[in-house]
């Protein structure tokens, strides 16, 4: 920077140039609040946990607020360290919350511990979650939602972003009230029902595959492949499509691709 530059304005500007990393402590000992360093740029939340159950809610604010009993527990423990000493034992359900380049990362990778982690972020944040056990719940988010769970259900509600959700063992439930046009989505499980609710006027190309189970829908789906026998029967509550392999179809004339894949489980596609 030019050594001639000085002045009041610059002092303020100088402060701005330092990357923002802030972990302010609230009144609530179980909470950590972290700010996004560049609020005018797209925000992202990344969550990686093993044993904790994750709950993410969009709220009307600017920061990421992470709450968990593990946080208050850790603070309590930190306060009780005898002066001059440090703890030797590893583990204890630690949670780390960091921010860099507008990405807030919450990780709880310990094999021990458990409990809930509740995170609040601005509604317009894209969210990426990777968990092992106990499942994920996402509510009121309009950014891209990318969830991977091994054992545990995935639930996404009241949201409008593009959704990619997968679990090995666990039900995937998704309810979207409106969807930004042009977004491709995908839902997959190995063992578990896929239950998706989409806006009635959505335009999409569907691709549905079930090994053991059936597809049910109350949408008017135009099945477009005839390479194998698809039996469509009216069950009174909607249409049941049974096929051997992948079924392709369109809703409302077609649009971006929505992929539904399960091995053991049913696929339910509801019209909102």
């Amino acid at each position: 920077m030019n050594r001639f530059l000085m002045g009041g304005m610059l002092a303020v500007l100088g402060a701005l140039q330092a990357p923002a990393q802030n972990q302010a402590q609230n009144q609530n000992p179980a909470q950590i609040t972290v700010a996004f360093s560049n609020p005018s740029q797209p925000r992202k939340l990344v969550v990686k946990t093993m044993m904790h159950r994750v709950s993410i809610k969009g709220y009307d604010g600017k920061d990421a607020i992470v709450e968990s009993s593990a946080i208050s527990e850790r603070r309590r423990r930190e306060r009780s360290i005898p002066p001059g000493m440090h703890p030797l034992n590893v583990g204890g359900g630690g949670i780390e919350v960091t921010e860099a380049n507008n990405v807030v990362t919450v990780s709880a990778e310990s094999m021990f511990g458990g409990g809930d982690i509740q995170i609040q972020v601005p509604v317009e944040t894209s969210v990426m979650v990777n968990t092992l056990n106990n499942g994920v719940n996402v509510e009121n988010i309009s950014g891209e939602i990318d969830v991977e769970s091994v054992n545990g259900p995935v639930s996404i509600t009241n949201s409008s972003g593009a959704v990619l959700a997968t679990s090995v063992n666990g039900k995937v439930t998704v309810a979207l009230d409106k969807v930004a046009p042009g977004k491709a989505m995908s839902f997959s499980t190995m063992n578990g029902t896929i239950d998706v609710t989409l806006p009635a006027d959505i335009k999409a190309n569907l691709k549905m595959k079930v090994d053991n189970g059936d597809v049910y829908t109350d949408f008017d789906v135009k099945v477009t492949n005839d390479t194998f026998d698809t039996a469509q029967s009216n069950t009174g509550r909607g249409v049941r499509i049974r096929g051997n392999k992948t079924t392709y179809g369109t809703i409302n004339g077609g649009g971006p691709e929505m992929q539904f894949t399960t091995f053991n489980g049913r696929i339910l596609i509801h019209k909102k």
């Binding site: 303020v12 500007l13 402060a15 701005l16 923002a20 802030n22 700010a35 360093s37 560049n38 609020p39």
Partner: protein, 181 residues
Amino acid sequence: MAEVSGGKVARLAVLFERYHRPLFRYFVSMNGNREQAEDLVQEVFFRMLRYRTSYDPAQSFTAWMYQIARNAGVDQVRKRGTAQVVDIDTFVDRRAELVSASPGPEESASRVQDLALLRRAMDQLPEDKREILVLSRFQGMKHEDIAEVLGCEVGTVKVRVYRAIRALEQIYFTLEKEKAS
């Protein structure tokens, strides 16, 4: 672009990925309306596609692109009547929200005001001064290219950039005084 004019229209896609964002920002700085800016970006690429054979490979690509951009902007104003009247205050307040950031409670308040004020000063600059500032500061264009786009001498460009930033300064400090009183 020479490749595009050679018929490989698909190469335009590469140019799109590279230039559509700066182009969008140029239009937003000029007319403040995001939707119109998006329409204009589309129009510029369409015209580049259509008139690709008229591109002279010896010419700087960005200069050619911005010439088309300016023409498209003018055409849009003509088509829609007077330039979009953007309510400066709501426009600026929205940006102030975008700008407000985190650490340091006292600092953040004044910092928000400074950048919002700066944005406001930019918006109050006369169009030609704002444009040359956008082209040189935000689009990072070389003086020679700007000269080509605006159709003037390189020396003139330098003087005009200087005058533009001085004008910005005047407006900024006037706004600051107004706010203080």
